[in-house]
Amino acid sequence: MALPSYTETRYRIWHYFYLAICTFVFFFLIAPLFVIFPLSFNAEEFLVFSEGMKNLDPDAFSLRWYKDMVYGTKNPWGLAAKNSFIIAIFATIGSIILGTLAALGLSSRHMPYKGLIMATLISPMIVPLIISGVAIFFFMAKAGLAATHTGIVLAHIILGTPFVVITVTATLSGFDHSVTRAAASLGSNPVNTFMKITLPLILPGVISGGLFAFVTSFDEVVVVLFLAGLENTTIPIQMWTGLREQLSPTILAVATCLILLSTLILVTAELLRRRSERLRGINR
């Protein structure tokens, strides 16, 4: 973005102004996440930087909130984490299976009523969450699934499948169907063709859709608030309760762990995206 030497002064000023705006916006986006790190190591109970922390005094830092998160007697984080992972994993598996099958069907040029069906399948992504929450709650209450893990998993499958459908359909749009025909002409049955040929090629799309579904479930709080009982508490519910009642530094310790988890997911998703782009590049 270096400016050519003949640039007029006013454009030069404008250019630096533009860069300053961009810097500010990037800072605005990323800086709030970094406030949490140092404060989670605070030795005191307050959510502000103490004098000791400003002077980098080692005594002002401690791991007490992390200890509280893991060993604290009143803390429900252990149960919440267990529930969150169980629910998210099953919801992801369900979303991947249902979503991938549907995407395969939708990508077929023989599919009837494609537009209408696609709109129905991705509607949970479009409808405001609060409305989805109310509707799903009515269903689960009638089906006797409110306040059960099964109910929450099903609810999260509803919310997660649109992402899988979208990413897998996108991957399939660059998919060369002659390879499956080649497999069929060589005597492979459809299931075998899918497992050996199609799946490995669309796998990046499937996994990144799965990551979306996982994060959606792991981070979901609106629908869970309607559905969960005391036994099904999840990390987002605990954070929600904690933020509403009293902002304790333990929440910051949990938040730090969640940021690390999201960094991990981000890196995986990026690597997959690049791999998928490479594979699609070869196909073209």
Binding site: V48, G105, D219
Partner: protein
């Protein structure tokens, strides 16, 4: 003529046309069967329940089922400005007695009280008389009931009962817009000082609109920068957009709560640069400011990603061509570059606006009383007042709004032009 042309046959001896049709049909069924599990699942667990919401929002069969004889008798009540005839009183008395025997009379009293204030008292009075067996069923019930309380002699109360007769009602929708059915059945506005819902709708629209605007003005420059920088720098900067995108909503809200509190870093900074006095730190949380700031940061990635994916496809040579043809950089940008990014702007604004209009968590945490939105009200009625039919009605009004926005967007830009990531 067709009989003259020789039909092409497959090796099985079937005409090719028939065989092809059969194969196409088979493929159609195959494709549909792949979609069927998810479609069925969603229809049962999601689409039907939204229909169920609609039924709940208009359902008013409770009173209809409770007072069958009353409503039957009311068909003969002709002059609605006068008290109903004896049959209506008798029908109501018999219905109410049955309800009292089944311990259901309390529900009726409460429901009628919502229709007309003061009903609960007079139905309770009737209940006590029935329990003490003080009512002579052989004499005129109209006289006896009228004697119980002056409100029974007020025709407005009987009109209120009549209004509850239809099994379906739009009253919840009117309530959502701060209106109600007046005594004569016309639609009236609630008193000025009690119009809370209209304020909430307007505030929701206002916040969604401004958040979209802020996101656009902040997102456009950085999307442009990301799309024009060389790959190795833009990948690094992309992390600044993607990390918040993948981070839990609650984590980001928590960090804003820390930053914006009165002793927080933002206020510290303002004091440091001398913008505000140390003992006069402004309240930036639990009001609209907090909602705006936090929601803008949280929704910004949804603006940047579609913009970026559109800008990425615009060739830089177009801008150079514009400039070489004599346009200043500003003209080249406005006439060449900007129009090409409209699909991205549309997608980003649509996404942010629709997400913002249904927002619930962040406003509830940082919004305080003046930053709450319509979603908070829906959640309040679902969880606290348990008025599920009203919550359903407001939810469906919100949904209708969202669908209208989609429709307008589709007319203007076309949903096919949306690009995600």
């Amino acid at each position: 003529m067709s009989s003259e042309t020789k039909q092409i046959l497959t090796t099985d001896g079937i005409p090719l046309e028939v065989s092809l049709k059969k194969a196409e049909k088979k493929n159609k069924i195959k494709a549909f069967l792949l979609v069927a599990p998810l479609l069925l699942f969603l229809v049962i667990t999601y689409i039907f329940p939204i229909g169920d919401m609609f039924m709940r929002s208009v359902d008013d069969r409770m009173v209809t089922n409770m007072l069958p004889k009353t409503f039957k008798a009311m068909e003969k009540w002709e002059n609605l400005d006068e008290l109903p005839p004896e049959e209506v009183y008798r029908g109501f008395y018999e219905d109410y007695k049955l309800l009292a025997e089944n311990q259901q009379h309390g529900k009726l009293g409460q429901r009628l009280n919502k229709e007309k204030n003061g009903f609960n008292t007079i139905t309770k009075k009737l209940f006590r008389q029935i329990k003490r067996k003080k009512i002579d069923e052989s004499a005129s019930l109209k006289e006896q009931i009228n004697k119980l309380h002056k409100r029974w002699r007020d025709v407005e109360y009987w009109q209120a009962i009549k209004r509850t007769a239809p099994p379906y009602t739009a009253s919840k929708y009117l309530k959502g817009m701060d209106m109600y059915f007046a005594a004569d059945g016309s639609i009236a506005q609630v008193d000025e000082d009690r119009r809370i819902h209209r304020i909430l709708w307007l505030r929701t629209l206002e916040i969604a609109f401004f958040v979209t605007l802020f996101c656009f003005f902040m997102g456009y420059p950085i999307a442009h920068l990301l799309a024009t920088l060389p790959m190795k720098y833009s990948n690094l900067l992309m992390i600044c957009v993607l990390l918040p995108f993948w981070t839990s909503l609650l984590v980001r809200t928590a960090s804003w709560m820390i930053l914006l509190q009165q002793q927080g870093i933002v206020n510290d900074f303002f004091v440091m640069i001398g913008l505000v006095a140390d003992d006069n730190r402004p309240e930036m949380m639990y009001n609209k400011v907090g909602t705006y700031v936090a929601m803008t940061q949280i929704l910004l990635p949804f603006m940047v990603l579609p913009l970026y994916s559109v800008m990425k496809t615009i060739s830089p040579s177009l801008m150079r061509a514009g400039k070489s043809l004599g346009g200043t950089p500003f003209v080249a940008f406005w006439k060449v570059y900007f129009p090409l990014t409209i699909p991205g702007i549309g997608a980003g604004c649509l996404l942010v606006f629709i997400l913002a209009i249904g927002y619930y968590i962040t406003p509830a945490l940082v919004g305080g009383a003046s930053g709450t939105l319509i979603s908070n009200q829906i959640a309040f009625h679902m969880k606290t007042t348990l008025d599920w039919s009203f919550a359903s009605a407001m939810g469906l009004m919100l949904l209708t709004g969202v669908l209208v926005i989609y429709w307008i967007y589709n007319k203007l830009v076309g949903v096919d032009n949306i690009k995600l990531g």
